[in-house]
């Protein structure tokens, strides 16, 4: 097989696998910060119990995130050296900033969170949790800055075949940075909330650790409602930005083949690229035009505005985007039902609802993955939108056979990590939170 195809497979696999962990870590970290703050305020033992348990879970997920993140930092150089030469002037800076401003912060204070309980005061312990949350959220910022510059490059000049920086802050806050960052971080908190809700629901279904589970579920369901609505809100601004800055991507998201005014928004359909149509289409007329331009008759650019060889792969972009969007609506619905049940005091013994929350606990991660696939596939065939094609970005000196070998190694190691992580999380969940009257030892 072609080395570029293999390099893409390797990058896709390792990034998709890595991207399962940081979002849920960010989400859990912020929820732990909230719970720890409640503990400082109220002094109730249950909040301490909750902090301990969720830190134990976070530590496992965080470890896999750190381990798989190392591969990402080096892969641009190993597999995409032509890309690295082309963008190094701009893309390297956020990676270095991520190290200096984020990685050090989160890893250093993670040490305190895991091993430092008896060595610092309650307040400093809470501050350490806050630093982990802030560090991981900043880390997301810098990596999204780097990725957003690939989507909407700004503040550069091309000198000797390389992009050179002209204005650091303009490159950092390129048109897509803030919408993409907001959308991703809010979705990350959502993924942590669903994760916490699922485990808490399981305890309630089993009738175990009831007070712990009720408090955790309350925090999680309220956070899920707030953040699922926020994902939609920020997602809207993100979509408007994509329509303005990457119209070909928006056309692929929505399956708009022909430029039209008063474009409909498709909620379900099967794109037929050869005949340039959407089959089994369920759509709301004029809604897309309205959402993008606040005008039901506005014109939306279709794929016909772009040469065929500059189209993103339409099917995968369309499906990924739509699965993400439908899941987003599902999260809003299900978490609003939860808040309603909580308000009516019927949440904790509503077994069907608890089962649904248990079954849904990993769905936000699925939505995040699909969102990422839509974002990256929608950028194709470009690696840096409008400047450098993916096909021209790979390393020229790495033979295909070596990449194939490393893909096999990654698949083996990552499968092992995933199996171990699932096993260890299930073990921790079965063991449950340690009651504070008993021995609490890790």
């Amino acid at each position: 097989m072609d080395a570029v195809v293999l390099a893409r497979i390797q990058f896709g696999l390792t990034a998709a696998f890595h991207f399962l962990y940081p979002p849920v870590s960010i989400g859990l970290a912020w929820l732990i910060v909230y719970i720890g703050w409640r503990y400082l305020r109220t002094g109730q033992a249950v909040y301490d119990e909750m902090t301990r348990f969720w830190v134990r879970i976070l530590a496992l997920i965080f470890a896999v995130g750190v381990a798989t993140g190392i591969a990402m930092e080096f892969q641009f150089g190993t597999n995409w050296s032509t890309y690295s030469r082309f963008v190094g002037d701009i893309f390297g800076s956020p990676l270095a900033a991520e190290g200096v401003f984020a990685f050090f912060l989160e890893s250093t204070f993670m040490g305190v969170l895991i091993l430092g309980r008896n060595r610092v005061s309650k307040r400093v312990y809470w501050l350490s949790a806050l630093m982990v949350a802030v560090g991981s959220t900043l880390s997301a910022f810098w990596i999204i800055v780097a990725n957003s510059w690939q989507q909407t490059p700004t503040a550069y000049t091309i000198v000797g075949g390389r992009a050179e920086l002209t204005d650091f802050w303009a490159a950092v806050f390129n048109p897509s940075t803030l919408p993409r960052y907001g959308h991703t971080v809010v979705a990350s908190v959502l993924s942590g909330a669903f994760f916490m809700a699922g485990i808490s629901a399981w305890y309630l279904l089993k009738g175990r650790h009831v007070e712990f589970a009720q408090r955790s579920l309350t925090v999680a369901v309220v956070a899920a409602a707030v953040f699922s609505l926020a994902v939609l809100g920020v997602g809207h601004f993100h979509a408007v930005q994509v329509a303005e800055t990457q119209p070909a991507k928006m056309a692929a998201f929505e399956g708009v083949f022909k430029t039209e005014s008063g474009a409909a928004m498709v909620f379900f359909g099967i794109p037929d690229v050869r005949n340039q149509a959407i089959r089994l289409r369920i759509a709301v007329p004029k809604l897309l035009s309205f959402l993008i331009s606040f005008d039901p008759n506005a014109t939306v650019a279709g794929l016909d505005r772009f040469p065929r060889d500059l189209w993103p792969p339409v099917e995968i972009t369309f499906y990924a985007y739509h699965v993400m969007m439908l899941l987003g609506f599902y999260f809003i619905a299900i978490s609003l039902v939860g808040v309603y049940l909580l308000w009516r005091k019927r949440l904790f013994d509503n077994r069907p609802y608890l089962k649904v929350m248990l079954a849904s606990m990993l769905l936000p991660l699925l939505a995040l993955e699909f969102g990422w696939v839509a974002a990256e596939m929608g950028r194709q065939p470009w690696v840096v939108y409008g400047l450098l094609k993916t096909a021209d970005a790979a390393s020229v000196v790495v033979p295909a056979g070596q990449i194939l070998f490393t893909i096999i190694m990654f698949v083996g190691i990552y499968s092992l990590l995933l199996a171990l992580l699932v096993y260890l999380i299930l073990r921790e969940v079965k063991r449950g939170p340690v009651s504070l009257s008993g021995a609490a030892n890790g």
Partner: protein, 342 residues
């Protein structure tokens, strides 16, 4: 700030990051390599892990940040070295990935088999990076075949050569010495005694390997001595390394643990300084055609990027050092045999 000033400043700053990595992650990699040899039972093995538990992750960030800074400041070097040393780097990655999870996964199941298995993962995950980092440094010092487009022009086997291997082993010995010195600070009794002895052996191996490596440079790449003959003041660096190594040896014999660790750390900085002073302005010399070599001038980012990054470093690094020092202070003193987790 002029471009040339910034290019030199970044040569120094990348050096600082690499020295920080060698001193800090050096001790926890060293502890990992020593672990099967000096821990006689499960309790001692746990003490070793406890000794580095709160720090290893922050220490490894020095490597990640050096990688990011290299990408930003000298993108051509990042691109050439990482794609050229592909398989070796991937091997280091796999080792670091498995080692990273061994800390969290290794203690979660109360089973002797489980713990033993993770103990070996921890050992191998420490040994491979500790050895291969030096092999990479050896190749960078010796130079590699490059072409006119700055691309690596060799193959996997051009990286396997006696000089690189000697430097790799020297690096390994250096990390073991550093790990041993650290353990004398963090542990008590028989374990600390064994660490001290291991440190003395590692010191001896390091000195022999450095002498051999020095002789090989004189014989094989004498142009690496040009900086020294041109500016004899540069000889201060190897002389300082020599003096610090002697003091480290004396301190390993009868000094306080903290002093030993400090001296070992300073020795590492000076030893790496020998390499830095010899290679300047080359980041990656070419072995075939000298003009193809990557220098701080032909491989760097633009003046604008270097200046922005310089400001980021000036703001960020003191912050990092401050809270890193704080966390080392929080976990100061000897490891307690059973300390509460979480």
């Amino acid at each position: 700030m002029s471009h040339a000033f910034l290019q030199n400043a970044w040569y120094l700053l990348i050096g600082v990051l690499l020295v920080g990595y060698a001193i800090l992650d050096g001790f926890d990699l060293g502890v990992g390599v020593l672990s099967p040899f000096i821990a006689k039972n499960e309790k001692e093995r746990r003490s070793l892990i406890r000794a580095i538990g709160p720090f290893w992750d922050g220490n490894e960030v020095w490597l990640l940040t050096a990688g990011g800074a290299l990408f930003a400041a000298f993108p051509h070097v990042y691109a050439t070295v990482f794609s050229g040393f592909y398989l070796a780097l991937m091997l280091v990655l796999y080792a670091l990935i498995l080692r990273a999870v061994s800390f969290e996964f290794g203690h979660r199941v109360e089973s002797a088999k489980w713990r033993r298995a993770w103990g070996w993962v921890f050992f191998a995950g420490s040994l491979i990076p500790a050895l291969l980092t030096g092999v990479a440094v050896g190749n960078v010092m010796r130079g590699v075949p490059l072409d006119a487009q700055m691309e690596f022009a060799g193959d996997f086997f051009s990286l396997v050569n006696p000089f690189a291997l000697v430097v790799g082993l020297a690096g390994l010995a250096m990390f073991i010495m550093q790990g041993a010195a650290y353990l004398t600070v963090k542990t008590n009794g028989a374990l600390a005694q064994r660490a001290r002895k291991a440190g003395i052996w590692a010191w001896a191996a390091l000195v022999v390997l450095l002498v051999v490596a020095g002789a090989m440079v004189v014989a094989d790449v004498p142009e690496r001595l040009d900086n020294y003959t041109r500016n004899p003041i540069a000889f201060a660096v190897p002389l300082a390394a020599l003096a610090l190594l002697i003091l480290t040896r004396v301190s390993l014999q009868r000094g306080t643990p903290r002093r030993t660790f400090l001296l070992s750390s300073l020795s590492i900085a000076a030893i790496m300084g020998i390499w830095g002073a010899a290679n300047h302005p080359y980041l990656l010399p070419a072995r075939n055609v000298a003009a193809y070599g990557l220098t701080i001038f032909n491989a760097s980012a633009s003046q604008k990027t270097l200046q922005t990054m310089f400001i980021i470093a000036l703001i960020g690094v003191p912050l990092v050092l401050a809270y890193t020092a704080y966390v080392y202070w929080v976990f100061r003193g000897k490891v307690q045999p059973r300390e509460e987790h979480y």
